[in-house]
């Protein structure tokens, strides 16, 4: 999977779970949690999806603050 494909897959996941997201959102730098595009109820599901995309497990006990802040941050932390 290329970087562009990974970012687009993440963007599509956010849109799928937030039908009211405006067109063109979320951009790579959009603050996902502050905009409430990502809530505590969704974060575990997103983690599973990230594992599926990168085809490798993620240790949830070692997650650092800020890794889900934006698509840029997610890509930088997990891919």
């Amino acid at each position: 999977m290329t970087e562009a494909e990974a970012r687009e897959a993440l963007r599509a996941w956010i849109r799928e779970h937030n039908p009211d997201v405006p067109a063109g959102e979320p951009a790579d730098g959009t603050r996902l949690i502050e905009r409430r595009y990502l809530t505590s109820l969704q974060v575990a599901d997103l983690l599973l999806y990230i594992e599926e995309l990168r085809q490798a497990p993620v240790d949830p006990t070692r997650l650092k603050p800020g890794v889900f802040a934006s698509i840029d941050d997610i890509y930088g932390a997990f891919f």
Partner: protein
């Protein structure tokens, strides 16, 4: 350490008097003065809270180990008669209740929960600031005088507003507390923190607190949290139907544990009030 004005009750509570009590009130007065910077109106809520209020935020599944419930005997005459005809309290201090009335309440585990219930289903077109102090109850595995108590005093200042207003409030409150502790000379620092979730690895809210640093604690001597700031996003706004400009309100709070501040004073400046800064 023997502290004048402190009597420790082994079930996890302390009795304050004299200079120690005066210092507790002095500290609360200082926090109340901070609250006035936002025009926060003081509120006095009861210590008993309807369990349904906390159920709206799924509190019991997150923190069941902390809950203390007020239990009452079923008021039926025959039930009360059976209670007094037996031995109500045995020599080891254990109560032997007969039938209990249904439990619908909980003793307040944090002062600010009352605020969200109080403002529930209301709409605001400007930020709203409230402050409150309450006796809070948290069941723990062990207790330590002034530092880890079953019941303790908590002063909170709460902001209800937009995301930007909530964030600005936390920044300003943090700066205000920094000025205060610098003035009295307490060695403290702010640390990213998480709440004490039950089975944290299975709780999505704990996972969220790990990755979204919304809680910070003011830690004395690298070991004792004496205050915390908390950004809740729209967690309480959604749960209690509080809106700001047509959207779920964002909330934030700063909380002060009064007895823990007393412990910090005692450990930093000694047990005698004469040596404490004012």
């Amino acid at each position: 350490m023997d502290v004048p004005g402190l009597r420790w009750v082994p079930n996890g509570q302390s009795v304050l008097s004299g200079e120690l009590l005066a210092r507790a009130e002095w500290l609360d007065g200082a926090f109340l003065a901070m609250a006035s910077a936002w025009g926060a109106e003081d509120h006095r809520f009861p210590s008993i809270l309807a369990a349904a209020v906390l159920e709206r935020i799924d509190w019991f599944r997150s923190f069941p180990q902390l809950a203390t419930f007020p239990a009452c005997l079923d008021a039926g005459g025959a039930n009360l008669a059976r209670f007094i005809e037996g031995q109500p309290v045995t020599a080891d201090g254990i109560v032997h209740p007969t039938d209990l009335a249904p439990i619908g309440d909980v003793l307040t585990p944090a002062a600010c929960y009352h605020v969200y219930d109080h403002l529930g289903d209301r709409t605001f077109d400007r930020p709203r600031y409230l402050t409150t102090r309450n006796t809070c109850f948290r069941r723990e595995e062990h207790y330590q005088p002034l530092e880890r108590q079953w019941s303790f005093s908590m002063r909170e200042i709460v902001c209800i507003g937009t995301a930007e207003e909530a964030r600005s409030f936390v920044e300003a409150a943090t700066a205000e507390v920094d000025r205060f502790v610098a003035g009295i000379g307490l060695p403290v620092r702010w640390e990213h923190a998480t709440d004490p979730f039950f089975r944290p690895s299975k709780n999505p809210q704990y996972l969220m607190q790990q990755v979204d640093p919304t809680k910070h604690e003011l830690v004395f001597q690298d070991r004792l949290a004496i205050a915390s700031t908390n950004l809740h996003h729209d967690h309480f706004g959604r749960a209690f139907g509080i809106t700001r400009d047509g959207e779920p309100a964002r909330t934030a709070c700063i909380a002060f544990g009064i007895e823990r501040w007393l412990s910090a004073f005692v450990h930093q400046f000694g047990p005698e009030a004469a040596s404490w800064p004012s």
